[in-house]
């Protein structure tokens, strides 16, 4: 087990290195260039003496962008491994500080959606499998298909239209009620934020339960046709016990694996949804940084996401060995 994890860890480092190199190269090739924009702005300022070209050269030197891609990457890497990710151009703050400011909003959103997703999708998937080709099964399948096909922006727009504009239950965006937030007690402040996360949570849950529901259903059906389920019935076990003990425990094997693997994803933020609801989480911040070509923050965000993905894969491999006695990691 220890050897397996060590091996996987070393592989992960190699993968991470390659990913970061690719990302860095891509960032340099972006059509939006922060330095160009800045240079043009500075050149058009009143009392300015330098031309835009001169400004570009100066800013490039200042931001360390004149070294070319490969040396530039290694300079970035050298400071990154020491935990220094530099200052964000867009937010004019150290990258890590901005990260600390925004990550918890994303985490709260991630946890809430994860809980609802699991609590809704798994029981419905099991139900659909139990009543295969029945009304319950068809309803669940249709819901899953519809949810899976709806784009996030569409769901968000409809929800906003209904609950914010027509009914007025929620604010249309943001994480706090701007006017009254400061006057609230700390507890009410938290509740205020929770209230602002309701619509984003619903949005993500709607677009993401479909696949988990289908996945649960398929796995459950496969297990229900297995020979050991017939054995369990032949023992005289009541149907509820057959399903909830013998079948469900086997269905859990693949489920735990994917759910475990998605745990690090709780930190990764929901780029589109946060953007749509102006939740100042990591996804929103990263998006804002990307559109202006903020290389330090984007590099940090993408390396963070890569680490989470690799961690997710490692966790699902380990969990697979934990839940399935047939699998021994070596």
């Amino acid at each position: 087990m220890g050897k397996f994890i060590l091996k996987r860890f070393l592989w992960s480092i190699l993968i991470l290195f390659c990913v970061m190199l690719i990302v860095y190269t891509l960032m340099h090739c972006l059509p939006t260039n922060y330095i160009d924009t800045m240079a043009r702005q500075l050149a058009t300022r009143p009392g300015n003496t330098k031309s835009a070209t001169e400004w570009i050269a100066e800013l490039n030197a200042q931001y360390g962008m004149d070294k070319g891609i490969i040396p530039g990457f290694f300079t970035w890497l050298k400071s990154a491994v020491r935990g220094e990710f530099g200052n964000s151009w867009r937010w004019t703050l150290p990258v890590t500080q901005k990260f600390r400011d925004v990550i918890w909003y994303s985490f709260a959103l991630g946890v809430a959606t994860f809980i609802f997703q699991v609590a809704i999708a798994i029981p419905l998937g099991v139900l659909a499998a139990k009543r295969q080709y029945g009304i319950a099964d068809y309803s669940v399948t249709v819901i899953a298909m519809v949810c899976n096909s709806l784009p996030t922006f569409f769901v968000a727009s409809v929800l906003k239209m209904v609950f914010s504009v027509k009914l007025g239950w929620f604010d249309i965006g943001g994480i706090i009620s701007t006017r009254t937030h400061d006057a609230m007690s700390p507890f009410m402040q938290v509740m205020d934020m929770a209230q602002h996360l309701v619509l984003p949570t619903i949005t993500i849950v709607i677009v993401s339960i479909g696949s988990l529901m289908r996945y649960t259903r398929t796995n459950m059906l496969e297990v229900l046709n297995a020979d050991y389920i017939r054995t369990a019935r032949a023992k005289g076990l009541p149907e509820s016990k057959v399903i909830n003990k013998h079948a469900f425990r086997n269905t859990l094997i693949p489920l735990v694996t994917i759910l475990g693997g998605s745990l690090p994803g709780l930190f990764s933020g929901a780029l589109i949804t946060e953007q749509l609801y102006s939740i100042p989480g990591i996804g929103y911040t990263a998006y804002q940084s990307m559109i202006v070509g903020d290389i330090p923050f984007t590099m940090f965000y993408l390396s963070f996401i890569s680490i989470l993905t690799l961690l997710g894969n490692l966790i699902s491999d380990i969990l697979y060995g934990v839940v399935d006695p047939r699998v021994r990691l070596s």
Binding site: Y228, K235, H246, P325
Partner: protein, 383 residues
């Protein structure tokens, strides 16, 4: 393009009709079964012979599939006396497994339904449980407790995520809630020892994948016999095992039968297994019993053309140098059974009447019955 005219082809309209018909019928049957739980009189009868454990009486089990009704078992009648071993033989798809699953009510419902006849299970005092009509709750009481079953595939018949001990304990805990945890464990270990597992403490804590096929089948037997059932159904118990293990498992079953005194129904396509073990043999073809009798009757005085064909097609020490004579043709399509004798299309001695009418069962001796028009003809001609 010319329209296809083979029997596998059905139009969408026809298919919808069939589905609707099936839904209506299976709903009705399920409802009847659920209603039966209110009144025990509906599913209790009396045994014809109290010396029997199970009496199959004209049992019909059909599968209502989307391409038509499959009459997997169509009027099967035989008895299983106490402490006896009854063998059910026949080729793939002749309904032998479905017959045994009907006794457990383990058919894939609602598609599979026992639609007619009676399966009387002796519950003592001359009273019998009609399994065909018994509600699920009643069945759960006797499954694993008074009727047990072992299956063809020991490799996949044990739940891979539970330990062997847990799985054997479970059946005891279910049917004997009065037993304490220690008693259950002691009984499980006793059963494991009884089925010839040497390292019983070790196996108790193992997962199924750590055992070989033969060991797993032993565990299955231990599980099936833990509650000392009246009858054990063995559905091709040795098919998936290699030959040396086969012999061991069969020997074990006979041994345990002597010790525990249960009846055994052994379902197989292996005539060798049947010959060595069974008191009575049921030969099935196309969902019906074509011949039944003692091992001697079947092997030395076969009275049905199908049985004769079967015996011609197995190698033995006497006909080592001769060519084996297989039965020609292919098993019949169960969706579309002929009007007359099911074996008729493959039978060398088929007569006109075989095409028209189903053969009646004729008594050849006290123990020996066969359903073949040849017997009627021979009897008429005074042979």
């Amino acid at each position: 393009m010319s329209k296809k005219h083979d029997s596998d082809y059905i139009s969408a309209k026809k298919s919808r009709q069939i589905s609707r018909f099936n839904r209506k019928l299976t709903k009705k049957l399920e409802k009847e079964r659920n209603d039966a739980s209110k009144d025990p009189a509906l599913y209790t009868t009396t045994m014809k012979d109290p010396g029997n454990v199970v009496e199959f009486d004209n049992v019909c089990t059909y599968f209502f599939t989307d391409i038509g009704t499959v009459k997997a078992v169509d009027g099967v009648t035989f008895n299983v006396p106490k402490r006896a071993t009854v063998g059910v033989v026949g080729e793939s798809g002749c309904g032998k497994s479905v017959t045994s699953l009907s006794l457990m009510q383990l058919l894939q419902r609602p598609t599979g339904q026992t639609v007619g006849g009676e399966i009387r299970f002796n519950i003592g005092d001359g009273k019998a449980l009609n399994i065909v009509k018994a509600p699920t709750a009643k069945m759960q009481e006797i499954r694993g407790n008074r009727v047990s079953m072992i299956f063809q595939e020991p490799m996949t018949s044990l739940n891979p995520v539970f330990r062997i001990g847990q799985q054997v304990n479970e059946v005891l805990e279910l049917h004997h809630p009065e037993m304490s945890e220690e008693e259950v464990k002691a009984r499980t270990l006793e059963m494991l020892e009884l089925v010839g597992i040497a390292n019983k403490e070790g196996v108790y804590n193992m997962y199924p994948h750590e055992l070989s096929g033969g060991m797993r089948q032993r565990v299955m037997i231990a599980m099936a016999l833990a509650c000392e059932p009246d009858i054990l159904i063995a559905d091709e118990p040795t098919t998936a095992l290699d030959v040396t293990i086969q012999a061991q498992i069969l020997e074990l079953m006979q041994d345990l039968q002597k010790k525990l005194g249960m009846a055994i129904i052994i379902v197989t396509h292996d005539l060798g297994v049947i010959a060595s073990m069974c008191d009575e043999i049921i030969v099935m073809y196309g969902g019906r019993v074509c011949e039944r009798g003692t091992a001697d009757d079947i092997f030395y005085r076969p009275a049905h053309e199908y049985t004769k064909g079967l015996l011609r097609s197995i190698p033995s020490t006497q006909n080592m140098n001769e060519r084996l004579i297989p039965i020609g043709g292919t098993p019949i399509n169960m969706l579309d059974l002929p009007k007359g004798c099911a074996f008729c299309p493959r039978c060398d001695s088929a007569m006109k009447i075989c095409l028209r009418e189903q053969p009646v069962e004729m008594e050849i001796s006290d123990t020996h019955h066969a359903s073949c028009w040849m017997n009627v003809k021979n009897a008429k001609e005074g042979k």
